[in-house]
Symmetry: C2
Subunit: 126 residues, 2 copies
Amino acid sequence: MTGYAPAEAARRSGFSLDTLRYYEKIGLLADVSRTSGGQRIFTDDDLGWLVLFRCLRDTGMPIAQMCRYAQLAREGEHTADERRELLKRHAVRVEEQMRLLQRQYDHLREKIRFYEQLPGSGSESG
Amino acid sequence: MTGYAPAEAARRSGFSLDTLRYYEKIGLLADVSRTSGGQRIFTDDDLGWLVLFRCLRDTGMPIAQMCRYAQLAREGEHTADERRELLKRHAVRVEEQMRLLQRQYDHLREKIRFYEQLPGSGSESG
DNA sequence: TTCCAACCTGGAGTGCGCTCCAGGTCAACC
DNA sequence: GGTTGACCTGGAGCGCACTCCAGGTTGGAA
């Protein structure tokens, strides 16, 4: 079992050191092992969790919900259904988010095209 | 020139009344006209701006940057190039955001598929 | 063994974008 | 003229997700 120093875990996960400590403090990341002197050692398993958290954060899941998910996972196998449903509901929200983003991106492109077609006078709104 | 009461402008723009007042306070929305008694009347032009702000907010532009854009627009025609470039740079960031979102969405779907294929034991990370 | 960069803790502070509040005013209708 | 609901102001407060800090400890290299 490879172990990673805090700085290395931060580098690999893309979270800052402070964020890793924060995630542990709020109970999102649990049972991070330590040296005899008290310094953290992150395992590949911890890194796996961090990759998941990165995915969920990037797709806009609130931290409270990630905590719920992590808590369920800690409770064991029998929560697998609930975890799956949690992820599926999140996926639906992400799909909506993607559609909205695409739609507003199209508006933005149209606005830009307007600027590019127009070497003369502009509209008032924008 | 049609005028809209604050509540109607809020409804049409999707921003709350407080947000409309806030946008005016920070100078994002300027020169909103008033009744003799001091109550706001939003014009179609104001609404046009609000639609643009909605687009920019939904695509993640910080308010400070929207203020910059609005300021440029107020300065007149000669800032059109700069405004266009501002929007184009933003569009690039939105494209990156869309790619990231798609990528993380794919990870999420994969995770869900994992749960669905698996009526037995699960992995540690997630 | 000494050094010093990396690490530790608890807790305060930050930035963003609103959101809420108290206390008062306006205006449309009865 | 009275009522009532929408509106006004300045300013405080909030929720989120970190981020920073002071003051102290650890541990690997020279």
